[in-house]
Amino acid sequence: MIELLKDLLRWLTSGSQWSGTDGIATRLLEHLQYSLLATLVAAAIALPVGLLIGHTGRGAFLAINLSGFGRALPTVGLVTLVFLASGLSMWPVYISLVALAVPVIVTNTYAGMAAVDPEVRDAARGQGMRWYQVLFQVELPLALPLIMTGLRLACVQVVATATIAAYVSFGGLGRYVFDGLAQRDLVQVLGGAVLVAVLAIALDLALAGVQRLLFRNRPPRAHAH
């Protein structure tokens, strides 16, 4: 066990491992690119849907079932299916990652909107606010903590799952996991896994930082969720 950790440390810290087209630096950037693009696309789809469902109160049934459906969808199966349908391209990777992230963001956005006190919403309407003013100036700020939780959760899941890019012969940190698996090289697998975990945690912390910036003018009660 100690020997394994030593080997891992050597693998992670050797200069030659970090440079070159299949070095850690390149793989890390690829992984970051897949994850960020997928999360952004998912957010661009899911945020409007979640906000609309939350604001109108219509389609709550859809939002809740969508999340269950999304969680139940086996990612490996989806990747394989899109791969067989589209051939060698990045589509299988991005479609699967977006499909993984959208339900998480929709449900959390909807949950955040649903948790807004109806009296607050009525008061805003009573003051003559238009629907978009109620949505963007009242509901959205109040729902933001839960929305951010959804984005963070989606991001962590996408980073952990982006390893599947290597399954359909692309790059990213999954390369080490799959190549190590094929070569029975446990140190390489372990190294890949550690790097994925570190990247996921770093992105989660970064988003937490963004969240704190957004809320710096808020009374501490807003953090309670």
């Binding site: 969680r71 086996p74 990612t75 199966g77 394989t80 791969f83 980073v159 952990a160 999954g174 975990a197």
Partner: protein, 213 residues
């Protein structure tokens, strides 16, 4: 991409075997997860100092890719179903632990104090007051964990215990989409049925919530 629907009835017995295989990995994983999460959640709920540590630790485990978890377990548990079950158990922990802690947190302090005032010891309060009241929130976690475990079993096909995931590998290697479609559909169906069963169990176990409604 064409799906050969005639393939389904021809492979009926295989599909049944794989589905049962799938269940015999997912179900124990959730049960073990619950068995580990419950005591840890009670500790996290009562000892504030350990709370952040336990929740943080389970969050970190959640960030490790599932394939990597299975592979990392190989030297310890070998190419067995135990590896698949252990890996999935680790994954269910994050949801189960967080929901159980939240459930216990949601029990009003006054209710707990009333139980203590009536002479109940902490263990009795936990078993007869806190856990029943936290049950709906805990069950929400069990439902998520179960659906997640069922969808993740297929990842274990890399070590040969992927249940319906075996169909993905098969279709991928032969460049033949039909088994992949079968695997995805059956996996979804299984998750749906399992969730319905859990909802029924929850409904049966919480008569007090029904009467109020």
């Amino acid at each position: 991409m064409t799906v050969d629907w005639g393939w389904f009835p021809d492979h009926q017995s295989d599909l049944v075997t794989l589905t049962l295989d799938h269940l015999s990995t997912a179900v124990p994983a959730v049960l073990f997860g619950l068995l580990i999460a419950l005591p840890l959640a009670v500790i996290a709920h009562r000892v504030r100092a350990l709370r952040g540590l336990l929740l943080g630790l389970s969050n970190i485990l959640f960030t490790i890719p599932s394939i990597a978890i299975f592979v990392l377990l190989l030297p310890i548990t070998g190419l067995t179903r135990t590896t698949a079950i252990t890996g999935l158990t680790i994954y269910t922990l994050v949801v189960l632990l967080r929901n159980t802690v939240e459930g216990l947190d949601s029990v009003p302090t006054k209710v707990r104090e009333a139980s203590t005032a009536m002479g109940a010891r902490p263990l009795r309060t936990l078993l007869t007051v806190e856990l029943p009241l936290a049950f709906p929130v805990i069950m929400a976690g069990v439902r998520v964990a179960t659906v997640m475990a069922i969808s993740l079993v297929s990842v274990a096909s890399y070590i040969g215990y992927g249940g319906l995931g075996q169909l993905f590998t098969d279709g991928f290697q032969r460049n033949y989409p039909t088994p992949v479609v079968a695997g995805v559909l059956l996996s979804l169906l299984l998750a749906l049925v399992a969730d319905a069963v859990l909802v029924t169990i929850q409904w049966l176990c919480t008569p007090w919530l029904r009467r109020r409604a």
